[in-house]
Every structure is written in structure tokens, then in C-alpha cells.
């Protein structure tokens, strides 16, 4: 469903993605792990067509993103939901307006239909009855939940998660992981998550890929990742300060 081939991106001579190849099958959840600043979020932005690669391509359902015009790209994006790292909630709107924005701008649904969908999605993420609140009144965990409700408001076929548990306490993070697993089973979505939280990666992923120095150095199932003898992957999983990876 999503094919990434030879994706290369540099910023001021620093190569962030170096001929990255990844295929994600329909209904699969791929977790991309890697150190902070290794290019995980840049990879996600290429999948969304928010960045143009220096070389290589991203293809979704046979459509190469770099060959689509703006209108076609917007049509394709409407099939995607994204949970941004900081939530990216619109601070000039209430929670309900945030969740319903895509529906009110892109569909002909009536206000009451949108209101029903918003209430349902907020209930799915455990935020019943807070639609009227301003986003500034929400805690970190609630912001992530509200952003997740917005990401799934338009019944997406593809969901992208950018550091879904970063900055959350372990219990709230586990709650977000549970939500992601529940949504995968409920909506049967194809998903890519980028994270450096291994607990989250093992819980939500079907497959794990590790990005290091711009390249995919490991790509396999969760069990293969756990039992891999790759010293870089193992050091990253354990979080050891000694090994091939030096503390930043």
C-alpha cells in the first residue's frame, strides 16, 4: 500500500535520509525507531508529501506523490490521519471544532452529523463531554487524545503517528498505546509510527524498522527485533550507554 523507494533527503549537506527503502502492507503497523534527530519525522513528512525528496519516491496505492498535482495530493491526504508530536491542535478553536474541522471543510455533512461524529470519536479516545473546552485547558495526555480523535475523524485508511508517547508519563503513555492498538483493530488502518519509546514500539507495531545514519539498518517483525543480535539495535532497545552508539 505504501512504498518508499530510494528516498534521499539532505539539509545543508547533512544527509538525513540516504536511499531509504520501505514497504508497508495494507493493515500493517510499521514502527520506525531511531535516535532523536535521526530523520524519523522527516520520513513521515515525505510520506505525507509535506517535503519533497532530493531523490527517490513515495507511492501510495500506486500513486507516486511527486507526480500528483495539489488537488490530487489533498484528495490522497484526506484518506490519511496524522497524530503530530505536539498534537498540533488549533489553539483558536475548541476541542470539538478541532476534531470536526476536516469534516466541515471537506464534506457536505450537516452540523448535527458532524457533531455526532465528533462526540463518537471523542468517546473512543476517552474524552467524552470535553468538546466545548479550549485546547489550552487540556493536559499533555488529553491533547494527544484530542489530536488522535481529530486524526481518525474522517475514517482514515492510513494513520501516521509522530512520537505518540513522547513527553507523557508512563501510565498516560500506556493509555495512548492501548488506544492505538484498539483503533488499529477497530478501523483496520495501515499505520506508520515513529518513536524512540521501545515499550510503545513493541506494543503497537507489527513490524519494526530502525533508522540510523540515514539508512534502515534493521527491518523485521517485533519478535525478530527482540531476538536480533545487531549490536546497534540491541543497544537502542536496552538503552545502554556503552556500545556502538555514543550518548549525544
Amino acid at each position: 500500500m505504501i512504498e518508499i523507494h530510494g528516498l534521499t533527503k539532505s539539509f545543508e549537506r547533512r544527509v538525513v535520509l540516504d536511499r531509504v527503502d520501505l514497504d508497508i502492507a495494507q493493515g500493517e503497523t510499521l514502527v520506525v525507531i531511531g535516535r532523536s534527530g535521526c530523520g524519523k519525522s522527516v520520513l513521515l513528512k515525505h510520506v505525507l508529501g509535506l517535503m519533497e525528496p532530493d531523490a527517490g519516491s513515495v507511492t501510495i496505492d500506486g500513486k507516486r506523490l511527486d507526480q500528483l498535482d495539489r488537488a490530487q495530493l489533498y484528495q490522497l491526504r484526506m484518506r490519511c490521519g496524522v497524530l503530530f508530536q505536539g498534537g498540533a491542535l488549533f489553539d483558536s478553536m475548541t476541542v470539538a471544532e478541532n476534531v470536526g474541522l476536516g469534516l466541515s471543510e471537506n464534506t457536505t455533512k450537516s452540523k448535527s452529523e458532524i457533531s455526532d461524529i465528533v462526540a463518537e470519536r471523542l468517546a473512543w479516545v476517552g474524552l467524552e463531554g470535553i468538546g466545548h473546552r479550549s485546547t489550552s485547558e487540556l493536559s499533555g495526555g488529553m491533547r494527544k487524545r484530542a489530536a488522535l480523535a481529530r486524526a481518525i475523524a474522517m475514517d482514515p485508511e492510513i494513520v501516521l503517528y509522530d512520537e505518540p508517547t513522547t513527553g507523557l508519563d508512563p501510565i498516560t503513555a500506556e493509555g495512548i498505546n492501548d488506544l492505538i492498538v484498539n483503533l488499529r483493530e477497530r478501523l483496520k488502518v495501515t499505520a506508520i509510527a515513529v518513536t524512540h519509546d521501545m515499550n510503545s514500539a513493541f506494543k503497537i507495531g507489527d513490524r519494526i524498522a530502525m533508522l540510523h545514519n540515514g539508512q534502515i539498518i534493521f527491518d523485521g517483525s517485533v519478535d525478530q527485533a527482540r531476538t536480533s543480535t545487531d549490536p546497534i539495535l540491541q543497544q537502542f532497545i536496552v538503552g545502554a550507554t556503552t556500545g556502538p552508539l555514543e550518548p549525544l
Binding site: 513528512k45 509535506l50 495539489r70 489533498y74 491526504r77 496524522v82 505536539g86 498540533a88
Partner: protein, 234 residues
């Protein structure tokens, strides 16, 4: 951005709610500041003109001089500079914050064109509301000048107002309003562009905000000269 803006302009009616909201923010909420600056602009114009006129030009022409200066130059340019400081800065700061917190990316991935959703309503509102503010400014500045003429210069109100009407041409008024519309487009477009180009957190937002005010102010003064030379032939 300009080409993308021209592309989405035909969708203006479908975004009318956003345009009206921006008109309120840009126009109505700027009115108290415009009233304050216009009163004193008119007052100081009358006082300075009277000072220059004494012993050389009959005071019955005081209204003529002030009226011309206000309608053609002072009201459009000073209103534009005040709005650039208030509204241009606020647009750049708001959109800059949206850029660094990924809210603009969020719009993109929801299939909502940020140029249609964020830029077009602001530019249309700038083009419409600045002439409206200038009309208010024209009236209030002349009233401020009238008060100075009557109270300080001891000129009868009818003499001052007859002076305003003496060489008043509607074409002067239209020229002032045309300039205001151009200034409104400059202020909102530069604010949006600076906001969209913001990088690097709070420091970047500060840079964009300052840049929006400085660039818009310089462009207002340059375009004022260019429009003046095009519209008023010597």
C-alpha cells in the same frame, strides 16, 4: 504564495465566514487606535498649517490645506502604518506560531489548503477593511482639525468647512481609498508570507513579526510614492 492566492480567490464566497471574522479582527478592533491617531493627525495638521499660513496665506484656506493633505496622504499612509504595526505583526505572529507548532502542516494533511483557509481571508479583509478605516480616519482627522481651527486659531467653523469643500475633488478621495486597498493587501500578504516562512521556535516567530512590520512599512512608503506619481500628474 501570490499565484496560489490568485488560484483560490474564486473560492472567496465559500470562505465568507472566515473573511467576515478577519474583517472584525482587522477592521473593527483597529478602530479605537485609528480614531486616536486620526484625531491628533488632524489636530497637528491644522496647527502646523496655521503656523505656516500666518502673515502669508489667508486662514480661510486652512480647511483646504488640511482636507487635501488628510484625504490624499495622511489618512491612507498613517492608517496603513498603524495597521501594519497592529495587524501585520499579529498575522505574522499567529501564522508563525501555527507554523512552528505544526498547525499549518495539520491543515495540509487534513486536505485543507492553508492558502485558502488562512491567507485568502486575511488578504481579502485587508483589501476591503483598510479603505473603510481610511474613510473613518478622513472624517475624524478633519474633525480634529476643525476643533483646533475653532478653539486654537479662532476660525469660524463654517469658514474652515467651506475651505475643506473649496477644492475638494472626489477623485482625491478615490485615489486615497485605492492606495488604502493596495496598502491593505501589502500588510496582510507580507504578514502571511513572514508567518509561513517562520522557522526555529519563539525566536523565529519574533523575527517574522519584526520582519512583517518593517517590510510592510517600507513597501507602504515606496508604493505610496509610485501610486502618487502614477495618479497625480504634475
Amino acid at each position: 504564495m501570490v499565484w496560489r492566492l490568485l488560484g483560490v480567490l474564486p473560492q472567496f464566497l465559500s470562505s465568507i465566514r472566515l473573511v467576515v471574522y478577519q474583517m472584525l479582527t482587522m477592521g473593527v478592533r483597529s478602530l479605537p487606535l485609528i480614531i486616536l491617531t486620526s484625531v491628533f493627525t488632524g489636530a497637528v495638521s491644522a496647527w502646523q498649517a496655521a503656523y505656516q499660513f500666518q502673515n502669508f496665506v489667508p486662514m480661510r484656506y486652512l480647511g483646504t490645506a488640511v482636507g487635501k493633505a488628510v484625504v490624499i496622504e495622511l489618512a491612507p499612509v498613517l492608517t496603513a502604518l498603524v495597521v501594519a504595526g497592529r495587524v501585520g505583526a499579529s498575522i505574522a505572529a499567529e501564522l508563525g506560531t501555527m507554523r512552528v507548532t505544526e498547525q499549518i502542516d495539520a491543515l495540509e494533511v487534513m486536505g485543507i489548503d492553508p492558502v485558502r483557509y488562512l491567507v485568502m481571508p486575511r488578504v481579502v479583509s485587508g483589501a476591503v477593511m483598510l479603505p473603510v478605516l481610511v474613510l473613518f480616519s478622513d472624517f475624524i482627522a478633519i474633525m480634529g482639525a476643525l476643533v483646533v481651527a475653532v478653539v486654537m486659531v479662532h476660525l469660524p467653523a463654517t469658514t474652515f468647512l467651506n475651505g475643506v469643500k473649496l477644492f475638494f475633488h472626489m477623485s482625491d478621495m478615490y485615489a486615497g481609498l485605492f492606495k488604502a486597498a493596495i496598502f491593505g493587501i501589502i500588510i496582510s500578504l507580507i504578514g502571511c508570507y513572514q508567518g509561513f516562512q517562520t522557522r526555529g521556535g519563539a525566536e523565529g516567530v519574533g523575527r517574522s513579526t519584526t520582519g512583517a512590520v518593517v517590510i510592510a512599512s517600507v513597501l507602504i512608503l515606496i508604493s505610496d510614492y509610485l501610486i502618487a506619481t502614477a495618479l497625480f500628474r504634475v
